[in-house]
């Protein structure tokens, strides 16, 4: 009753490789509710996403409130809650050189691509945000950028 019969998340069981229950998805499989991402993690992939990748969200599906919530948690800590590159970690000089969105020629596609794979010092956020959330954040970043360019 105290110990579960089934395998617990993060458990250590001999049946798994390295006794580690936490595993990566089997290669060639995809989680329910996700779709394939066709762009490679290369400069060419970035250029292609920059030019042609568009958001699958309808305008009515974009939820700025949720976008802001997620952005403030995952992006704002470095990029700043306004997107000007002045997050808490930058102000405290822990991480330097975070650009303002206004200074970069970014598009819907490139924003999503960088959230998905990361770029240079920035890591991938694909495992912290699900597909729909990534598009919500992308939409919010675009909104911040147009606000900054004004």
């Amino acid at each position: 009753m105290y110990e579960p019969v089934g395998y617990e998340a993060y458990g250590e069981y001999e049946v798994f490789p390295n006794s580690q229950e936490a595993l990566l998805p089997v290669e060639g499989t995809i989680a329910r509710g996700y779709s394939l991402y066709d762009y490679d993690n290369t400069n060419e992939g970035y250029e292609a996403a920059l030019k042609s990748l568009k958001s699958p969200l309808e305008v009515s599906e974009i939820d700025p409130k949720r976008g802001k919530e997620l952005y403030d948690i995952y992006c704002g800590i470095c990029h700043g809650n306004k997107g000007a590159g002045q997050g808490t970690l930058v102000k405290r000089e822990k991480i330097l050189g975070v650009p303002s969105y206004a200074d970069r020629a970014i598009t819907t596609g490139s924003i999503y691509h960088v959230i998905y794979y990361g770029k240079n010092s920035m890591g991938s956020y694909a495992n912290l945000l699900n597909e729909e959330e990534r598009w919500q954040v992308t939409a919010y970043v675009e909104a911040l950028r147009s606000e900054l360019i004004k």
Binding site: N18, Y74, E93, I95, S121, S124
Partner: protein, 444 residues
């Protein structure tokens, strides 16, 4: 000086035809202008301001470059001298590279292509907005010598004053001697009095022999009963206490394989709990972050600031812990790439509910909108994480009884709130009134 240069540039253009017909005097003036402008150029470089350069560097370059350490791009200390001495590349090449590196690579420049390949094709962002002066400033900053590490100021601490301790010892000693003297005095008085009594032939009455205390106790039925009840009650109390602490680990504070300080991350740096524990928003578990989440920041942060160190934990200690992370995730910090040799970290689980109790994080975090601290306590102040709440059923139920459900802007509860608030005749419903006390909600 700029004017001089301008005039120098315009002169040949405008007077192109006349140049050949220049008078000796004009020639002399022209030559002196040329000489002057050449002489001026290095002067301009000397004017470069490394302080301004530093702020420009931090704003534009530091995401990928550091002075003494390979990052996404190469280390940049003495970059200008290095390029001119080793590669024969001048300032013009650097200017072109900084303003548009992709174009330099495309032009087939040998060194540009070499460095591009060396860093796995990480394309450097173009900085067309940087002026010549800006670039001079930045290069002046990179040309500065490395500041000698600040010599640790050895403060010879005065030996902690032992005065308080000493005086206490003296007082205690004096008291002990006093008591010894008193006891000795009493003993002597007693002895003397007995001697007097003997001398005066006074008979000292011996105590009358009484039945032993134990036998008297056995004869007293009431006392016996009272004692039995007392023993039974107190043993029941201890047995109850023993059973109530089974599986309760409040205050559990295990030593983790990597000393991760929630205080530094969530407190000082204000990183949201959900940044690392992202699955608390959407699933039953508040997940343990996989190490790539650590590397989101620690790819850049390879050491702690001197100000982070405390008396208890030195900078070397914290830097060592970051190194443990690198070893675990297989990150070669000098080469700035993953080696592929990973050693998963075996974190020790702190909060653990028995299998017969169901708990879902997303229900509490996303739907109810609770703060993590409500259950986990002041995590942002914990250097070492510990279990703040008892996680007992009584504790759960208390909270369900006392907490009003947030129904505002919460579509999840719209219907049930409407129905139940009519039934109970109240506007605010507690979690208990919504069914938060039903056994089957948590035990099934």
């Amino acid at each position: 000086m700029k004017k001089l240069r301008q005039s120098l540039e315009t002169t040949p253009n405008v007077d192109m035809k006349q140049v050949n017909n220049l008078q000796p005097l004009q020639k002399l003036i022209f030559l002196s202008l040329v000489f002057f402008s050449i002489f001026c150029t290095p002067l301009q470089a000397q004017e470069a301001d490394p302080t301004k350069g530093k702020s420009l560097f931090n704003a534009n370059c530091a995401a990928c470059h550091q002075l003494d350490k390979k990052m996404t791009g190469p280390a940049l200390r003495y970059v200008e001298t290095r390029l001119s001495e080793d590669e024969g590349l001048d300032r013009d090449w650097l200017n072109a590279w900084i303003r548009n590196s992709a174009a330099v690579i495309k032009s087939g420049d040998a060194y540009a292509n070499k460095i591009y390949k060396e860093y796995n094709g990480a394309a450097m962002t173009a900085f067309p907005q940087l002026s010549d002066q800006d670039i001079s400033n930045i290069l002046a900053y990179t040309a500065q010598d490395k500041a000698a590490p600040a010599v640790a100021t050895v403060t010879t601490q005065a030996p902690t004053s032992t005065e308080g301790g000493l005086s206490k010892d003296i007082i205690l000693g004096a008291l002990a001697i006093l008591f010894a003297l008193l006891a000795l005095g009493l003993f002597l008085v007693n002895k003397t009095l007995r001697r007097f009594a003997e001398a005066n032939e006074v008979e000292i009455q011996e105590a009358v022999k009484r039945p032993s205390l134990w036998k008297a106790f056995l004869k007293n039925q009431f006392l016996l009963l009272a004692t039995a009840i007392f023993f039974l009650l107190s043993s029941a109390y201890f047995v109850y206490g023993y059973f109530m602490q089974v599986g309760v680990d409040q205050g559990y504070e295990p030593i983790q394989p990597i000393h991760y300080s929630h205080k530094i991350h969530a407190g000082d740096n204000g990183i949201d709990c959900k940044y690392c524990h992202s699955s608390a928003r959407v699933s039953k578990h508040s997940g343990i972050p996989s190490l790539n989440v650590c590397m989101n920041c620690h790819k850049s942060i390879y050491e702690v600031a001197p100000s982070t160190a405390t008396e208890e934990y030195s900078k070397e200690f914290y830097d060592g812990e970051i190194q443990k992370l690198y070893d675990a995730v297989g990150w070669d910090d000098a080469e700035q790439k993953y080696t592929g040799k990973t050693k998963p970290v075996k974190w020790v689980r702190i909060h653990n509910l028995p299998d017969f109790a169901y708990f879902n994080h997303s229900q509490h975090v996303s739907v109810a909108g609770l703060e993590c601290q409500t259950c986990h306590g002041p995590v942002e102040e914990m250097e070492i994480m510990y279990q703040y709440s008892p996680l007992t059923m009584g504790w759960c139920i208390n909270c369900h009884r006392e907490t009003n459900v947030k129904v505002k802007d919460n579509g999840y509860y719209e219907k049930i709130h409407e129905a139940l608030s009519k039934k109970y005749g109240v506007e605010q419903l507690t979690a208990a009134q919504m069914g938060g006390l039903e056994c089957g909600k948590c035990h099934y």
